[in-house]
Amino acid sequence: MLTFKNVTFQYEADGFPTIDRLSFHVGRGEFVSVVGPSGCGKSTIFRLVNGLLSPERGEILVDGASIAGRKRYCGYMPQQDLLFPWRTVAENLRLPLEIQGGLSTVEMDARVERALEAVGLGAWGKKMPGELSGGMRQRAAFARTVLTGSQLLLLDEPFSALDYLTRLSMREWLLEQWERERKTVLFITHDVEEALFLSGRILAAEGTPITTLRSFPVPSGYPRSMETLRQPELLALKEELISMLRRNAG
């Protein structure tokens, strides 16, 4: 689904590359988390995939074709929900459809309606974003990302601004969504537990520049619950990841 081939990227202001000859692959339908110390360049990987940045060298492939010059091959959900305050929740969800064009208003409204139902916000379409709680806003932002129609979803720490309990329920909610739609999800987080709970596989960045992402398959199937996290294999993997991140953060 997504392939990095020897990708190098350097910010102009830096004297060194943030990403150096990085290669990795994410298969169709996978849920993969990228963890790493903060500031190591995880978000840069996302900005390269969604086209906000262009690699200096190397190639990024989505569905086997280079992304250069392509549009709408991935849905990107940033840390903040970025719902437009002057649009109702439903109108916010309509944005990606309006931009793509080619759909009648009736068809757009129908799709938005279905997407709102799917994220449990069926009754909230006519509300303004300011009237929603933090968790609801993130759910609306997620629905908007899904409405881009892309098979590849990039979620950049979408729950980091939420309180702890809301985060817990949002994790479970996200897994339900993924198990139903089976889209390919690439998920950035600095929370190892969150990564373990959600992903089939974890890619760990070991510091800057990112030259490799070490792949750790999570030894547990789906569906998962809070109990899953207490399995000895997962606890061991958690220890390993945390000590690795701490080693590299210093």
Binding site: C74, M128, T148
Partner: protein, 250 residues
């Protein structure tokens, strides 16, 4: 609402106190041609209501209306141009700021020479004073847009034009209303200055004519009318603003 009303009470009290001081001073001085009392001004306003409301108020409001209309088109156009092209911004911004250092009042007699005693010399004064706050404020509104929101639309595949219509324009709307509320009193002042310097009708012209007749109350009456008209216009715009901008401060 309630809070705002309570907040206005001190202002109303102070205004009343100032009017009473004025009344007392005028009565003490007893020279209406220099300082008429507020009561004398009101009486004169009533006596002169015929020409003031049927000829001079409409003449001034025509200048204000046409001047504001031109300023809005010109200001919005300049703001959009500067937003669309950094080269235009570099070229125009200093010129627009410099235009504000020209003492328009001193040039106004020249405008009368160029454009005559009719509408257009006054409109020019009003436009010169008001297009600046509109252009600069709306331009600031365009620049206030969060980079993240622009990027999000970009990942949806939006064109520059779509980003402008769906993001920048609505984001700048609160700024636009602030600009109009600033521009209304300025355009009233501009119109009055223009009329004071050379005109055949208008409240500024009328006030000056009363001056030559040593009619103190007659000088103040049209000025009072002018202020009330400006305040009414601002109030109307504020009401429209409240209905349109429901998301301010989010």
């Amino acid at each position: 609402m309630k809070k705002a009303n309570r907040g206005n009470l001190p202002a109303a009290g102070l205004t009343l106190a100032l009017i009473m001081v004025w009344q007392a001073a005028a009565m003490g001085m007893d020279a209406a041609y220099i300082l008429p009392s507020p009561w004398q001004v009101l009486v004169r306003l009533w006596e002169l209501r015929g020409p003031l409301f049927s000829a001079h108020l409409p003449a001034t409001m025509a200048v204000v209306g046409v001047g504001l209309g031109i300023s809005v088109v010109l200001g919005l156009g300049l703001a959009m141009l500067m937003d669309a092209s950094p080269a235009a911004e570099k070229a125009l911004y200093p010129l627009i700021v410099a235009s504000q250092t020209i003492p328009t009042t001193a040039l106004a007699p020249l405008f009368v020479l160029w454009f005559g005693y009719g509408l257009w010399s006054k409109v020019l004064v009003a436009v010169l004073i008001t297009f600046f706050p509109i252009a600069i404020t709306v331009f600031d509104g365009f620049r206030s847009v969060k980079t993240e929101m622009t990027e999000l639309l970009f990942t949806f595949g939006a064109s520059k034009r779509q980003i402008f219509w769906k993001l920048k324009l609505p984001a700048a709307l609160p700024y636009f209303f602030s600009a109009i509320k600033m521009a209304i009193p300025l355009s009233v002042i501009g119109a009055a200055i223009g009329e004071w310097l050379g005109a055949q009708s208008g409240l500024g012209y009328f006030s000056r004519r009363m001056m030559t007749q040593l009619d103190g109350a007659g000088v103040f009456a049209p000025i009072l009318l002018l202020s009330v008209a400006a305040m009414l216009l601002v109030a109307i715009v504020s009401m429209i603003e409240k209905r349109v901008i429901t998301w301010r401060g989010q």
